[in-house]
Symmetry: C2
């Protein structure tokens, strides 16, 4: 790994300092990240100031990370231009957009016109929807503009065809979003999160209330001081919006939402609603903080190391201890089964075709028939008509 | 109908004059059209000259029609700018692009920056692939740019949702292209035509030779003097490319291709290959022409009218005569069945789901199983295991 993109969900510079310093100590490329979002407080000037702070921390490049595909062409131009003017023309600017809303290839064009140095895309057969914009389209888009990617189109075609063959094997993991979702400009939720919410609502037999939840998300964001929506703040805000719709506003708080309201994830750009802060104090039985949250952490490496070493299959490396520290639920099974080698979760094409991703499944994993199917069954010399239909 | 977009597949102005004059006589909006294509001869200057000629014919607007999604951002900018400079700022410029190659929303942005007055899009739930770019994305794209569509986003959302519900009923008519096809920049074939070719090849048991055919298309275009590929030239060039691959170059000519080589569709921008012209003379037993093809037509209205009136269900209107004149094979059945009212070719959602568009069908219309399916069948007190598998 040569390039480290370091981001904080709240764009709290204090949360980035240690990680960036650690990357720099290894001599690798440290990329400081602005999580892009829109709100009354997220102006171009604000982001440019953040970029300057990241630059002062010694970042080798500045990334504009637009996880929800909210970055429109004109703001993309203004932002890149602003960073170049404030931080110097030699500052590498990297633009990372998803394509969910359908406008971000245009934003890349304007970002390039404003001087962006690096952009993120992916091969067309894996692109679009909540993914990235297609690499081949970006290559062609630049013809005649004075900019070039110098990518070899024949090689891109071979990569495209390879992944076009592979992709259907993983159909069950795909997003349902295949077109363009401009509603995201209002809800500001990353495309991938909407399906999460749908499943939370279905578990509560409230699958029909998604629209109310999407409308509630901007309210929760305002109350919480306008955090960008990216892991983990997207899940925290999204889950609270679901609870507000199902139980009434802030009747029930998650522990994570209380922590967010109390400053335990860091500082938000805007003030947080005092009434909801008071509810969070009551719920979490702790006071708000304004300092750097990680200052409250006790050194825990030795203890985690001891716990990890007790796990079957742990090889005692720092990587294994970190795996356990970050994923305490998942790590024991992973470490125990690691010797069996990688698991292939892809299906053969025939199996993938037989069980399409969208088909509703019963609890036992069997797919019910959706329409009556008639069979003519012959046993010995007698013929029977058998009709199978939805129960 | 208030706006008439008049185009000729070869951009031969002589073929447009009469139709444009007829539109102007009715007092309706006459839109003169440039069929956009790329070739060594199709420069910005050439298209701008064509636009000036259309303007001189009294066109109310000039349309750049990009049926194959070949119009890249910089040429889009240069072309719109060139037309505005040559024809005057008040000349309405209308940009019509498809989205097949994935870059044309960017081209619309640059066209708008260059002064385009009108652009074509469609609602997102019917957009992308070989269709148009999504309307909602265009609306959002312009935020902060000084341009606006003044479209109501809530209404667009309702239209989107309506067509999202309707579209699955017509799944069997959909293109297989759902992502981005940048190979089109090389073959220059409109997206919709590729499936045509695939079916022609399959009928000849040569379904695996599509790539050869796509590579042959640019050769056929060069030989034919670089016609744009749009109805009917796209079909004519495409079919000839199929024949060249299957039978050897120009061993067999279609009557239409011979006519194209001999000037019976009009003038092409480039010279036509003399050897293939000679083959066309031999095949069609007629000489090349350089005049306006329609000058060779004899008045035929009264004869067509008499034939149309003899058809069951013909009401004697000019429209019915024109229907028969343009579609002599289809008109008799259409006129005879018209009284029964419109036919709904949509399927119920259950039927559409039961017979997906991609499933191979046997001649009798039944869908074969693709993988073994096991049933446990109980008749009386005996249980039988029945396995159905591909023959």
């Amino acid at each position: 790994m040569d390039v480290f993109r370091v981001f904080d969900a709240l764009n709290d510079i204090r949360n980035l300092r240690r990680a960036l310093a650690a990357v720099r100590r290894t001599g690798k490329h440290a990329e400081g990240t602005l999580c892009y979002t829109v709100s009354p407080l997220h102006t171009v000037e604000h982001f440019v100031e953040l970029a300057e702070q990241l630059r002062e921390l010694g970042c080798d490049s500045i990334c504009i990370k637009d996880m929800a595909a909210l970055l429109k062409p004109q703001p993309a131009y203004d932002l890149v231009r602003g960073i170049k003017e404030a931080c110097g023309k030699d500052t590498l600017v990297h633009v990372h957009v998803h394509s969910t809303t359908g406008v971000t290839l245009v934003s890349l064009m304007k970002a390039i016109e404003a001087g962006a140095d690096i952009v993120d895309t992916c091969i067309s057969s894996l692109s679009l929807g909540p993914g990235h914009n297609p690499t081949e389209a970006l290559v062609e888009m630049l013809e005649g503009t004075g900019y070039t990617t110098r990518l070899n189109k024949d090689r891109l075609l071979r990569i495209k065809e390879h992944f076009a063959r592979v992709r259907p094997r993983y159909a069950e993991f795909e997003s349902r979003i295949i077109g363009v979702e401009t509603e995201i400009f209002d809800s500001q939720i990353p495309g991938g999160m909407i399906s999460n919410m749908e499943s939370q609502l279905r578990q509560q037999n409230a699958g029909d209330r998604l629209k109310e939840v999407l409308a509630e998300v901007p309210n929760v964001r305002r109350v919480a001081g306008y955090p960008p929506l990216v892991t983990p703040s997207s899940q925290i805000v999204g889950t609270q919006a679901v609870l507000n719709v199902l139980m009434g506003p802030y009747k029930v708080l998650t522990g994570e939402f209380a922590d967010l309201m109390l400053g335990y994830y860091g500082a938000t750009i805007g003030p947080r609603d005092p009434e909801v802060v008071a509810a969070a104090v009551k719920h979490a039985r702790k006071e708000p903080i304004t300092g750097r949250p990680a200052d409250l952490l006790k050194p825990e490496w030795e203890e985690l190391r001891a716990q990890a070493l007790a796990l079957k299959g742990c090889n005692g490396s720092d990587e294994d201890v970190l795996t356990f520290a970050m994923f305490p639920q998942v790590a024991p099974k992973f470490l125990a089964q690691r010797a069996e080698g990688p698991k292939n979760v892809g299906k053969t094409l025939a199996r993938a075709a037989a069980a399409p991703a969208q088909a509703p499944k019963a609890a036992d994993g069997k797919v019910p028939v959706s329409t009556p199917v008639t069979y003519q069954i012959r046993i010995g010399d007698r013929s029977h008509k058998v009709i199978v239909e939805p129960a």
